[in-house]
Amino acid sequence: MKRIFLGMLGVALGLSVQAQTKSAADGIAEYRKMLEDGNPAELFEAKGEDLWKKKRGPKNASLEQCDLGKGPGVVKGAWVELPRWFADTRRVQDLESRLLTCMETLQGLNAAEIARTPFGKGEQVTMEALAAWISAESRGMKMALPQAHAEEQRMYQLGQRAFFFRGGPMDFACSTCHGEKDKRIRLQDLPDLRSNPGDGIGFAAWPAYRVSSGEMWSMQRRLNDCYRQQRFPYPGYASDVTIALGVYMGVNAKGAASIAPAIKR
């Protein structure tokens, strides 16, 4: 009898269920805790690993020789150092942008066409699974984006500008929601992305499995939806503004331990 009850405690419900008064924030925290054990992102990680190793595309090649910044084929630790400068493309690239490069050069796939594909369709499904697995390979590691190259520094500055840029019919900027500490929209806590918001928060939590839609979202998709809610026009997939924002948020989050792929509302 006791054992069964203890087993239920293991679901992280705890004795607090009995508590008469509990704040909404506590209730939400309890809900999130219950979801942590069993994150469907795992399903996408497994798929992503297979896709990395599978020979695909016109060149019938795998992505195992893809250089994510730490040398061809090195996946572990790559995620927490992206976006970064790549000498071969002479660009600062984030994970998705870099994957596009590899899919084109190694596998012969059409990067521009993939970038144009709507989220959740065709090769975008591949991208999301790959992002899930690659980020998972850096789980627990600390964000450490390089800032040595002049272009990386310039992209940081551009990202900073984009972050505070107010526009559209509602005058919103990224900073409207993410430019102050301890704020929330409805019941969702908003990380202050002007500095390190802490381990596994903000930039260190994406990609993530979104329970609202049951989809895996990469940082590109997260940013895309931010801009939608900001009432801005549509940011291109892996466009410079999204990469610059990645640099800004990632550099600010220096030292934050990554929990990606996380599970999110």
Binding site: G7, D37, A46, Y209, G214
Partner: protein
Amino acid sequence: MADPMRIRAQAAGDKATVRVLMSHEMETGQRKDASGKVIPAWFIQEVSAAHNGKVVMTAQWGPSVSKNPFLQFNVKGAKAGDKVSVSWVDNKGDKRTDEATVS
């Protein structure tokens, strides 16, 4: 074919806790697509679990189980090294069986 499940089975004391994630849309049949057409129901209807080949649990599900379902249960007497397998069948007849070793 459906994507593989993720099954974790962990022994503790005289039982093993099994946690399963299944890859499935679990479409309710009540949603409409952008053009206003009803998206047909598509969901797992039957689930079963076996311990070293012996069925220990069967279940029936409706469309209100969440997308990419999670299931947790405890198998009595299961110990490290034992095999736990889980199967599902959906309303279109698609099916999937995966197995894990208790750790």
